[in-house]
Amino acid sequence: MLELERKLRANDREYNLSFKYATNAIKTSKYNFFTFLPLNLFEQRFSYACFLHQVIPEISSLSWFTTVVPLALVLSVTAAKDATDDINRHRSDNQVNNRKVQVLIDGKLRSEKWMDVQVGDIIKLENNQFVTVSARSWSRSRSTTHRPHFGQTFPLLLLSETNLKVRQALPVTGDLGDDVSKLAGFNGEVLCEAPNNRLDRFAGTLAYAGQKYALDNEKILLRGCTLRNTEWCFGLVLFGGPETKLMQNCGKSAFKRTSVDRLMNVLVLCIFGFLALMCTILAIGNYCWELGEGSAFTLFLPRQNGHDAAFSSFLTFWSYVIILNTVVPISLYVSVEFIRLGNSFYIDWDRKMYHSRSDTPAEARTTTLNEELGQIKYVFSDKTGTLTQNIMTFNKCSINGKTYGEETGPAERKQHTETVDFSFNPLADPRFTFHDHALVEAVKLEIPEVHAFFRLLALCHTVMAEEKKEGQLSYQAQSPDEGALVTAARNFGFVFRSRTPDSVSVVEMGRQCTYKLLDILDFNNVRKRMSVIVRSPEGKLSLFCKGADTIIYERLHRSCAKLMDVTTEHLNEFAGEGLRTLALAYKDLDEDFFLGWQRRHHEASVAPHQREAKLEQLYEEIESDLLLLGATAIEDKLQDGVPQTIEQLSKADIKIWVLTGDKQETAENIGYSCNLLSEEMNDVFVIGGNSPDDVRQELRNARGSMKPGAAEDCAFLPARILGKSAQAIADEAVNGDFGLVINGHSLAHALDRSMEQDFLRTACMCKAVICCRVTPLQKAQVVQLVKTYKRAVTLAIGDGANDVSMIKVAHIGVGISGQEGTQAVLSSDYSFAQFRFLQRLLLVHGRWSYLRMCKFLRYFFYKNFTFTFVHFWYAFFCGFSAQTVYDELFITLYNLVYTALPVLGMSLFDQDVNDAWSFQHPQLYVPGQLNLYFSKMAFFKCALHSCYSSLVLFFIPYAAVGQAARADGRDVADYQSFAVLTQTCLLFAVTLQLGLEMSYWTAVNGLFVVGSLVMYFAVTFTMYSNGLFLVLPSAFPFIGTARNTLSQPNIWLTIGLTSILCILPVVSYRFLLAWMGLSISPTVLERGTGRRLSSCVVDVDFLPRRRFIVLRLREPTTERASGGGGGTRSKLKPHEASPGLGLPG
């Protein structure tokens, strides 16, 4: 029965057990020792049909082993892989389940395993400990660093979030303290909601001692969080194991499949259809034959049990299903998995994606999505911690019209100027650096504005300080910006030491003073400012305010006009450098006015109606006529190589959308500083409307100015075959580069059903999109929107818990394993330490994986189709009797032994161009986005090619030896000789074809190719040897065939001829491509044109009509020849960098 409500009683296991709530043990593994075999076999049910109808003798055109051996191998390989995966899951489950936690049992605290914790238990958590269960916070320690009365709340670090989340115990339970006997006697009853996955809300009530208390989100500790700022905390377990919010959130992560997978499924269906068609044709053929020739032949071969022609053709149909089922090879899926696994290992092993500072190698957490990395069209990136390091540094400031801080860029700064010496200040933070001595001098000279500036920074904030040892301060801030500002003030001699709810202790230039904190007008998104009202030790009453410059400017006193102009200039300068700016202002308050204001404030804060509005008005009133002090500029340091990476990715035609929780200005600044937005852009649209109509209008206007006369209704792409989702919106071409910035409110409207297509069209016309102030849910919605309406592959990259939703929604989720926790990493498919590794992941690993997978699929289908079609042609000569062309042993081993390794080798080692060249020409990534290397068209071409090859492979041997004889007159036109001949021809043809496909011959590839051929001959001669025949005469009827056949010159002449005819068209075609410059390999380019790369400029063109990437060489001086392609969107800019093969950046 569905649980609607949860009822539990503290310290009463028996009562709670009666509800059968889930225990805290988690289980992510799928099998156990006994269920593995049946379950796993059930899951891999493919090809059972083939196996089953092998048993019916009438239609078993092949011996049982031809199907059973490959099937068994495939099943066991898959089972082995599943088993190792599951063992790993078991191991991690065990590790989690066996962690220790202190549980209050029978009045005593006992150390128990996590999995033994029950709902209703009281557990004790300690600082920095993971929270095991969804528990209600109970009582917290009276920590020594804080005053006791401050202790009703304690901040809690939500795992992988920077933000501390404040959690607070109910006073009634808080009073219980850490008195174990009192806690043991506690018998409150909790009635709360059923388990769900909403992290941000909770509803329940606690009944204790006849009273009812409300429980909300503020009182709940969630599994996966870490406890901070308190030594301990007691909690009551509400949900356990699979019912916790964390597990509910990540339990059913959608199974991701790649677009190649989906295409493959469609193709396999098509192939099945095609197979049915072939079998039908052959069955009809058999019917006709049986009516004519067959009935005459009954003298020599009587019909079985009186089957007539119709029944015989029915049986033939199924026999041919068995014979021709190699068009749908069962080993395909296993090979694909294997290749993906191999390519995932390369990601794990890549040194260039290893971050030595954090000792983090890249990790492919999902091994089934590799080739999709080569097809990414949209990248959705978090900002903080992903693009930036999430380390804020106080970089510049403007005080009373004078700027301080270095003018030079960050790179030069380190080398040219020495850092400021803060040794005068014993409380200074040694990690803080500043590069302008003038500011220290100004402080030392006691310039009043400068002092006021830093005093404001030391007072106006919500940071909490922790002083573990005398003089060793550490700050814990809700936002890193604040931390940076307070740290700056600390180093310049205004040290914030501690706070109580009504006072702030500061050391001002070595002098200890305590300010009375009268009020905090806190920050929120609308106000965009915060103020404090303090009374100085001298008794002076002042208001300090810091906030967004635009907001502060509106509230300045008229006298500041001149300063305002100067400061504005500075602010623009700062913003231009991508710094986060804040304006600072203050005001001395009149005692009487303040008293009156305070009274009204109190009234308003208890007002039953319109409390918000009234408070707002009061704040407005007191935050007016401010005096400007200056402005601060904080650098949110970009991670290394971010601008270069973004430039590279956009050259690869990847669109980057930044989804950030930051405010618009910050996001825009970062956009500029990481090259996402640039001054050269024709326009950057800012969508900030508050009503749906505004937003719609703004979107339309933006679209209108990008593409005048754009159609109002979207252009849809033609519906996909078997497409289940909404229609896809076509890409629209625009002239010029545009950017779009949209904020959270507008986004909420834009994501509405009625407007989402408008939004998407506009956004997709822009080169860069920045969404600010978005919630985790909106992040996921944006990704989902693009996924729904665009036939494009999306990638989401982020580092925090708020990115988890989008990481899960996107086709590929990438987690940055940074300083912050692991939740994003845990739900990601790939993880590494730095954003810049993304370009290597996509442009190198992704590209190669995609290329390899496509080459593999094309070749695999080719070789199997060729193999199978020969049977089809032979049917016309053997009375459609389902006689195979090849020896059954060959059929068994063809896919498993003779052709398996070379193609695997190719798909593990092949490189069309090396990594340096991929970096040099990110445009080479484009074919992947357009699915050029493996599509229905490519598949169709493959099938046609196979058809040609199979015609050659059947009819040339047929004509050559059909009537031939050996030099000694003996038989060479017999069935067995023909089988050996054809299979040898086939093997040579497909091996040569592989050789042509392969563009990177390592020793291993050579070994595999030659080894497979050698293996073929070795196995063939062994299987056809006297010894084996004498042991099992009926299993090895081909005795002596190899010896007798392969010693004949005309057999080898036939093999040679088929090989030439099979590769001739391919070589010509490839050569034409290469010669016309339709090749991307640098060496081909060099040799093909006879010019040296170093003396030429390489142009990369994409010819959309012809679906080729073209590289052209030209003399640096000559004008670029106008490329074909007709100037559509995909026309890429020429590569303007200087020639050579060096790594960019």
Partner: protein
């Protein structure tokens, strides 16, 4: 991987060429300098091969005669239309003239057209274990042989199966009419016409244990269409009798296609006038006409041919090489033209 590593770079991946995908490799390239010479070279090679093979094949002589219902054999053909006449012996004679002497070894084939030896059920209908002389299989033929596994009386058939049952049972007497009218039999080797491996390994008579062949085969029945049991196929030659009778072996090697020819004998070149092959003149072949072909609209032929190292007179391969050579040349020229532009 060394798991025991510790220190700041403990998790750094190995710097091996394999793991970093930097294995030394050869990247073959299709450039004008490699492809065009290769194409021209291939064209020349194919051309030379084609010409050489054509000349080789030209030297092969073949005489092919259909005797299904021609001339004297027409009455036999009609006779065989009725199954009830199967026991009646019918012979006919085929006369022909050799204009040019057939030099060297001359091979005598019988040819069948439209006979599907390659039907799946037909090909499966045999028991290799029985024919290699396994006594258990001799008495208990494989179920694949059905319905020719046991006869009406339940006796096991040896050799069992449709293949053996349908053996081609015409026999030929080849005669040289010389210049005069004196008939001189043309001696044919009737042994050495099958693969060595078939004759010596794949087919063996059951172990004799001092018994005669007939006694070994006691308790078995001949295939229903046979006139003689298997141990009387060649009574005067023990090593060509039973399962190792070469006519049987040749027949048991099923043809890949419905039109085929099978070796019947090789000219004995020990005596005059056949020391250097068949001299020109008139010949006759006396045919014991047993094998009915009209049921399946088949044709029967006698083929006389000389052979050389390349094999038979099949002109396909030389011509195919010549055509291929042209194709390669055309492609090469086309590519050259394209490249020069």
């Amino acid at each position: 991987m060394a798991k025991a590593k510790s220190g700041p770079l403990a998790r750094r991946p190995d710097n091996s060429a394999f793991k970093q995908q930097r294995l030394p490799a050869w990247s073959p390239m299709l450039t004008a300098n490699t492809v065009l010479p290769f194409f021209y070279f291939m064209a020349v090679i194919c051309l030379l091969l084609g010409i050489w093979l054509l000349l080789t094949v030209q030297s092969v002589q073949e005489i092919r005669m259909d005797y299904t219902d021609s001339g004297a054999c027409a009455h036999c053909h009609d006779l065989r239309k009725n199954v009830s006449n199967a026991a009646l012996i019918c012979t006919c004679k085929l006369y022909f003239h050799v204009d040019r002497p057939l030099k060297g070894d001359v091979f005598f084939y019988y040819g069948l057209q439209n006979f599907h030896q390659n039907l799946r059920r037909y090909m499966d209908s045999r028991d290799d274990a029985q024919m290699v002389g396994r006594k258990t299989n001799l008495k208990k033929p494989s179920s694949y042989c059905k319905p020719f596994a046991t006869n009406d009386k339940g006796l096991p058939i040896a050799p069992c199966g449709a293949v053996a049952n349908s053996i081609f049972n015409d026999s030929f007497k080849f005669q040289y009419l010389g210049s005069g009218s004196s008939d001189e039999p043309v001696p044919l080797w009737r042994k050495g016409i099958s693969w060595y491996t078939d004759k010596n390994i794949k087919y063996r008579n059951p172990q004799m244990d001092n018994l005669s062949l007939a006694e070994v085969f006691h308790g078995t029945a001949p295939p229903p269409y046979w006139h003689r049991p298997v141990y009387e196929l060649q009574t005067h030659d023990a090593i060509n009798n039973g399962f190792i009778n070469e006519d049987l072996i040749v027949w048991m090697r099923e043809a890949a296609f419905p039109n085929f020819k099978k070796l019947y004998g090789i000219l004995q070149r020990t005596n005059k006038p056949f020391e250097s092959g068949l001299p020109k003149g008139n010949y006759s072949v006396e045919i014991t006409y047993n094998f009915p072909v009209q049921y399946f609209r088949g044709r029967k032929q006698v083929v006389l041919t000389t052979l050389n190292w390349f094999g038979g007179p099949n002109k396909f391969l030389p011509i195919a090489y010549l055509i291929t050579s042209c194709l390669v040349l055309l492609a090469a020229i086309g590519l050259t033209v394209v490249c020069k532009e």
